[in-house]
């Protein structure tokens, strides 16, 4: 197993997003709702990284946070780096639509009163017409689609339109928020192939999805999103067996896959307002103990990271974060971590089948 030592295109380090909200209609005191807490994920060149989480868990906000498009009442903490450079609000504004492209989730992201062709061209007309036409053609969008309005497009057509709009610029990174629902299998595969081709050119894709099977099919690495944070980040090869996975939730996800037994995990993710103390997965975890009640640090186990005190790994050292192009960050760490992981079979045994 070889861990990546490629250039970081995007690195998100302990990102937290919270919203200030009035407690209720009568009170004037505001409370902070943490929707994303200490989330870490990174995309290297040539990689498709999937952030997998259930619907409505705040995954879309991750995309909005990276693009600097959160509403004014959002509070953001943590660092984000693009190409090794710290992302400031000004820098994001200069990068989006240019180096960072966004494929949004639904048809509501298209202006209902503007033809889709014009929207993909982004107002700037004729010089982009040729490229837009070429991209449309590649996705089977005929010439008459150019002049169609969003209400005239089917769900699948809209997805393709949204996808082409991301490819109009010359992006280094594509952030795709649920890009495939509504597409038929052939088209979904085609768009994934395009993501693959795009990544293979030395670029990166952050795929935000609820569809773990799709993620397993196309992604290089998978970050599992649970209750506003990433609880595990692992290479897709780790998902071939339950043993190579780290977090109890990831294991439960794995077992829930049709080919692995279709066992679903009872319970639901906690709502941000009544988040349990310590590990957010605690209430559903059979391994829950007093040591899970504190702050759970992210640690490195093998080529992935995990947020679980039961997993014995290597703490993420601060020294790892050199943000220089082409620097090998993880060389010494992962060998050690890999060894540690094999030292922990006991944990895996006790976890098996108990969720």
């Amino acid at each position: 197993m070889s861990c990546t030592n490629k250039r970081h295109i995007l690195e998100i380090d302990e990102l937290s997003v919270s919203f200030l909200q009035y407690e209720n209609s009568k009170s004037s005191s505001q409370i902070e709702l943490p929707v994303i807490s200490r989330l870490s994920v990174s995309v290297h060149e040539g990689e498709i990284v999937a952030v997998v989480g259930s619907s409505g868990s705040g995954k879309s906000l991750l995309a909005h946070a990276i693009l600097g498009l959160l509403p004014y009442n959002a509070k953001v903490a943590g660092d984000m780096y693009f190409d090794g450079e710290l992302l400031t609000q000004e820098k994001i504004a200069a990068l989006r639509g240019n180096k960072i492209a966004f494929v949004p989730q639904s048809t509501t992201y298209l202006d209902p009163l503007m033809s889709v062709g014009a929207q993909v061209r982004g107002g700037k007309e004729e010089d982009k017409k040729k490229k837009q036409r070429r991209l449309f053609k590649r996705y089977g969008l005929t010439e008459e689609v150019d002049e169609k309005y969003p209400f005239e497009c089917s769900g699948g057509m809209t997805r393709r339109v949204l996808l082409t709009s991301a490819l109009m610029g010359d992006p280094e990174l594509i952030i795709a928020d649920e890009p495939t629902p509504g597409m038929d299998l052939k088209l979904a595969k085609k768009s994934m192939e395009d993501f693959r081709r795009f990544a293979d050119e030395g670029k990166g894709v952050l795929l935000i999805t609820h569809d773990i099977e799709l993620a397993l099919e196309v992604a290089d690495r998978i970050a599992v999103f649970y209750a506003g944070t990433t609880i595990e980040e692992a290479p897709v090869s780790d998902f071939t067996s339950e043993k190579t996975l780290r977090h109890p939730y990831t294991k439960a996800l794995w077992r829930a896959l049709p080919q692995n037994g279709f066992q679903s995990l009872p319970g639901v993710q906690p709502y941000v307002k009544d988040m349990p103390k310590g590990c957010p997965f605690g209430p559903r975890c059979s391994q829950y103990g007093t040591e899970c009640e504190g702050e759970i640090p992210m640690q490195r186990v093998g080529c992935g990271t995990v947020r679980c005190v039961r997993c014995v790994g290597e703490p993420l050292a601060v020294e790892e974060h050199h943000h220089h192009k082409g620097t090998e960050h993880h060389g010494p760490v992962h060998h050690h971590g890999a060894a540690e992981r094999h030292d922990a079979p006991e944990f895996e045994k006790t976890m098996g089948g108990s969720i």
Partner: protein
Amino acid sequence: MKRNLVFAGKNFIRMVLLLFAVSIVTFALVSASPIDPLQANVGQAALGSMSEAQKEKLRSYWGVDTPAIQRYFNWAKDFIKGDMGTSLAYRQPVTQVIAVKLANSLFLMGLAWIISGLLGFVLGVIAGVFEGKPIDKAIKGYSLLIASTPAFWLALLLLIIFSVWLKLLPIGLSVPIGMEAAGVTFLDRVRHAILPAITLSITGVSNITLHTREKMIDIMESDYVLFARARGESLWSIVRHHGLRNVLLPAITLQFASISEIIGGSVLVEQVFSYPGLGQAAVSAGTGSDVPLLMGITLITAAIVFLGNFIANILYGVVDPRIRKGGRRG
């Protein structure tokens, strides 16, 4: 083509029903009014000098003693034939009175309608785009202040400032006093219309501004604006390509719905400026129990308001591709 005919036909039937309902309500209200048309229109002194026989003759001539329902049907029968009757106060056919008054008012109301519409739209868009910023607060504050200011009070204020103190503009009426009709120039008319038109515009602006602002805020928070920002579009480009396009539809509704408010406002404003328009005529018809004139004015204004909404409906089809293309397909 067939679709358009059906559309027009449906709306025509709607208008007829509306006017019918309005006429009944107006008639019922006037009939319930305690004002004695004889006293109001002949005058206390003249009435006192009249003999009982003369009064009786006048009563039966005006139909004072006929039951209300009977009077309504008499009126409706004539109205359908195109005869709106004779005004008690002006002793002229109602159609003639309305034509003169409407011509005066249209100038006033048209000006106010256009100014308040344009200004309200621009201010609303600016405030909505810069929601929460100082400029938004200023515009919102101004609009709320004006919205809670009575039009007649504002009219008096402007009258004091511009006519009494500064002596820049005439104090009232629509033409100079003591001048022959032939000698009145267009400029004279404009000078007399300025103050009432400004009053109507100022009061009309706030409503349109606040509504446009609200719509603009919704648009700026929409997913498609978020996506436009994600594609790197500048604020100006977003406002131009997505903001104006989407705020135009509600703005059209507002603009045509505001016709009724302008007409309502003109009643008060014309009163303050002694401007001989439709509004003032409506007031004198109401207080004088001049039933034929009041019915005429009410129906004409109701028809104007209805036509405004009808035009707005047609314009939707022109502006909104969902209606335009959806209809063609369906």
